[in-house]
């Protein structure tokens, strides 16, 4: 998929493109930017390129799809090698962007990174164009008891199962919404857990309308058919029930999860009374979609699209250009559409960031793939919407911010008091979002709850404003940066 192997971008040799994130989007961006003749610096806080996708896939995928996987993996491997080994590229592993500095608003901002082992070294990158591809993290809605040990985000459970072969429990319930629950359940099985059931809050009808009945039709071009089939097969083999229209609405236990309460939910996720059921479990893994990592885009001054707090993404044009001069965005920060779409977006972004020829023939298929990916994202969102009535699960004493243990009653009280209803004042008063995760977990949820309570924040970027994008030790911050490069 390398755009412009014809070398049409040769006239812009020397243009410095910094790519943040080496997931499917970022890697493709780096590849395309190199093909277009740029000098590339690729940055990722992880040790290896690949992002979520290549870190997270269950083994069953490989077993069931040796060819597909072989093909996909080879393509990934080749691309990684090509990018990392390229003489015009610099690969900065273990390197986190901690701040973006708009020193000159007419051009791409400075990128401040921390690199290497502890204490990390500060460095400043000066790009001619910046591609932001930092991906998303998984979203979890609060419910009574979700702060108990034994409740995991689906992503965290997946990372433990995949990365460290640690099973999060013996009897595990997987719940939430979205196709992402399937690979998580499969990875748990592989790590030796018994998966009691998989609960998909979307009802069969809505999911079918979206994609479950004919996933291949919708997803064929997005390259997902084989994957989903393999997950479903793996679950069927282990006789794991997959129940649409059910949600976990409470976790209980003395000091850790011992049982979960689930209930049938309507299309809007309101609970159908009388359908509650208690299931013994020592772990529950929940995922309700993804929240894009927007702090770097917000710090870069990029405009966002979408108004409902959970539906806010970076606004990009047909060339993946954001509203901020010299800044491009690709992958899950622009919409949740899976790895193939992220790759296509990345390639388009990298090509244009490098100043590649807009009439290059290789662009057409990329754009097509990108547009299919976007259409898929739309369908995915339709098939797995977060129901409006989920706050019906909450009680006054349900924790909303796990870091600061702020409960729902406190969020309601602040939103309802005209003296403290403004978002920032409410945050300082309730402390929701002020803890170590800086609202990455609860920020969008609190914004959504406050909007429901009649205190919407007019600024969609507010839950994502983090001028310090990664924690930085005082000694690291106090030391001057190494010589600026590029």
């Amino acid at each position: 998929m390398s755009a412009g192997t014809g070398g049409t971008g040769r006239h812009v040799v020397g243009r410095h493109v910094v790519v943040v994130g080496a997931g499917p989007a970022g890697l493709a961006a780096a590849d395309a930017a190199l093909a277009a003749g740029a000098r590339v610096t690729l940055v990722d806080s992880a040790e290896q390129p690949g992002g979520q996708y290549h870190r997270m896939l269950p083994d069953a995928y490989e077993a069931a799809n040796p060819d597909v996987l072989q093909h996909g993996y080879n393509a990934f491997e080749q691309r990684s090698m090509r990018v990392i080994g390229h003489r015009r590229s610099t690969w900065l592993a273990d390197t986190s962007v901690w701040a973006i500095e708009r020193d000159d608003p007419s051009r791409a901002p400075l990128v401040h990174v921390l690199t290497g082992g502890l204490p990390r070294e500060r460095r400043t990158l000066r790009p001619d164009a910046l591609v932001l591809a930092p991906g998303a993290h998984d979203r979890v809605l609060p419910f009574p008891g979700w702060e108990l040990p034994g409740v995991f985000t689906a992503g965290a459970a997946q990372a433990l199962a995949k990365g460290e072969r640690v099973a999060v429990g013996d009897r595990v319930v997987v719940a939430g919404t979205g196709p992402f629950l399937l690979p998580v359940a499969v990875s748990l099985l592989e790590a030796g857990s018994r998966v009691v059931e998989v609960l998909e809050a979307a009802r069969a009808a809505s999911a079918t309308r979206g994609w479950l009945r004919k996933p291949w039709e919708l997803a064929a071009q997005a390259g997902k058919t084989g994957e989903l089939a393999s997950y479903t097969a793996a679950l069927a083999r282990e006789r794991v029930p997959y129940l649409p229209g059910r949600a976990v609405i409470e976790a209980r236990g003395d000091g850790r999860v011992e049982e979960v309460v689930s209930a049938r939910v309507r299309g809007d996720w309101s609970v159908v009374p009388g359908t509650e059921r208690v299931t013994a479990a020592d772990a529950v893994c929940v995922g309700h979609g993804f929240t894009p990592r927007l702090e770097l885009a917000v710090a870069s001054g990029c405009e966002l699209r979408g108004s409902a707090p959970a539906e806010v993404f970076v606004e990009v044009d047909g060339e993946q250009r954001t509203s901020a001069p010299g800044v491009y965005a690709a992958g899950e920060v622009t919409g949740i559409a899976g790895a193939p779409a992220a790759r296509a977006e990345g390639a388009v972004a990298g090509w244009f960031a490098a100043g590649g020829d807009p009439s290059a023939r290789t662009l057409a298929p990329l754009r097509r793939a990108r547009d299919q990916g976007r259409a898929f994202a739309e369908r995915l969102a339709h098939a797995h919407p977060v129901g409006r009535e989920w706050p019906g699960w909450l009680r006054g004493d349900t924790i909303v911010c796990r870091c600061e243990e702020t409960d729902y009653a406190a969020v309601c009280a602040a939103a309802g008091d005209p003296v403290s209803s403004e978002a920032r004042v409410a945050r300082l008063g309730t402390r929701a979002g002020l803890g170590p995760c800086q609202g990455r977990m609860c920020g969008v949820t609190v914004a959504e709850l406050r909007a429901r309570l009649g205190a919407p924040d007019p600024d969609p970027a507010a839950p994502h404003r983090r001028p310090v994008a990664e924690p930085i030790r005082l000694a690291e911050l106090a030391a001057p940066p190494a010589e600026r490069e590029g």
Binding site: P119, S421, R473
Partner: protein
């Protein structure tokens, strides 16, 4: 006072404190703000209530009055006061250089002469009070009267007190201009219609200059950027408010470039706040990593053992300042009906309650508890005339 209708323009901590005093005095008080209460400067700074950083002079007198009032006001607010997170924990100023020590000792002596409790500490006393502070110190002074609040919570408490005393609040109303009849300001035009009143109090913080200009009586109040770092929560490490003595020498500097002085304090939640910078950059809120770096370096000089502690957040705001570094409190002699309560720079949280008391007395026609003359509106610095060199007051730490 017989139902004077007072419209307070700005619901930061200064407007909120004034609203409470004037409502208690029996005025018919309306507070308006273009945003939400306490959402501007008041929630973008720290909440130090300090005597330690003020040399003898009018600002120290206002600070002493305010420090005396704070506990009274909070007691009076009853249950509403909880959100202010009042902590009378005291401050310690630590000098780390010879020059710092040479400046600090006479400064503390002059404060003592003005009635501030300022106790010299020897190395053992300092170590006992702050086990993690640097060993490389040259002098230390304990100021037991220094205290701390959560500023947005304190403002909310004051405003709630005002509402309880009969004031009303309208958020989301921007003042666009004035209505002047017979040389008197009788109304303000807002984004939501005109509001009539007897007295209009400009409490618009760093926007007070712009607001006053819209009303036809400009005052020279400008923004001065400041940033603060917040660490992840720690077990108790910093017990007082601890500052370096650098500011003692930095008298009335007019320089636009970066200045930092370390203020290190723990919050109730366990995070440590590290302040702060001072820059004259207009209303430019862009993050400057090298400014954050300078703050970190200064803080580490005081607490080297924090080296591995992660900073998880940075924020900043715009201190409202007048070129002579004194607030502006009182009626505007150029336009009847217009009053000002603004320009408190890095001390507006602490000084809010004293300011409100002065406004109440002046409006009542009574002699205020302290001389309000130095804060009057018709001084050269406020009216935008050149300030003669050497006439500037000292700067605060925060």
């Amino acid at each position: 006072m017989d139902r004077t209708r007072v419209v307070i323009l700005g619901a930061g901590i200064v407007g909120s404190a004034c609203a409470r005093e004037l409502a208690l005095a029996g005025c018919d008080v309306l507070v308006i703000d273009r945003g939400g209460p306490a959402a501007a400067t008041t929630s973008h700074g720290e909440g130090n209530i300090l005597l330690s950083d003020k040399g003898p002079g009018p600002e120290l007198e206002l600070a002493k009055l305010s420090r005396r009032l704070w506990p009274e006001v909070l007691t009076d607010l009853g249950g509403l006061a909880v959100q202010a997170e009042w902590q009378p924990k005291g401050g310690i100023v630590v000098a780390t250089t010879r020059a710092g020590a040479d400046g600090l000792r006479p400064f503390a002596a002059s404060q003592r002469a003005s009635g501030v409790v300022a106790e010299a500490m020897d190395a053992d006393a300092l170590r006992a009070a702050e086990p993690h502070v640097t060993r490389e110190h040259t002098a230390a002074v304990h100021y037991p009267q220094d205290a701390q609040v959560q500023p947005a919570g304190a403002a909310a408490a004051l405003l709630s007190g005002a509402l309880a005393a009969g004031a009303s609040l309208r958020s989301g109303r921007e003042v666009l201009g004035g209505v002047v009849r017979g040389g008197r300001l009788t109304g303000v035009r807002t984004s939501h219609g005109t509001l009539e009143g007897d007295v209009f109090l400009n409490a618009a913080g760093p926007w007070s200059g712009e607001l006053a200009a819209r009303l036809g009586a400009p005052v020279d109040i400008r923004p001065r950027r400041g940033e603060v770092l917040v660490t992840t929560p720690l077990p108790p490490t910093v017990f007082h408010k601890v500052y370096d003595a650098d500011y003692v020498g930095a008298v009335g500097s007019g320089a636009g470039d970066l200045q930092t002085s370390a203020v290190v304090e723990a919050t109730l939640a366990g995070s440590v706040l590290l302040g702060s910078s001072r820059r004259r950059v207009g209303f430019d809120a862009r993050t400057r990593p090298e400014v954050l770096s300078a703050i970190a370096a200064k803080a580490l000089r005081l607490f080297p053992s924090l080296a591995r502690v992660p900073v998880m957040r940075a924020y900043g705001g715009f201190r409202p300042y007048v070129p002579d570094h004194l607030p502006v409190i009182g009626p505007d002699p150029r336009l009847a009906g217009l009053w000002h309560a603004s320009g408190h720079e890095g001390a507006g949280i602490g000084l809010s309650v004293g300011t409100a008391r002065l406004v109440r007395a002046l409006l009542d026609g009574r002699e205020p508890e302290i001389d309000a003359g130095p804060f009057r509106v018709d001084r050269p610095a406020v009216l935008g005339e050149d300030v003669p060199a050497g006439s500037t007051a000292g700067e605060e730490t925060t």
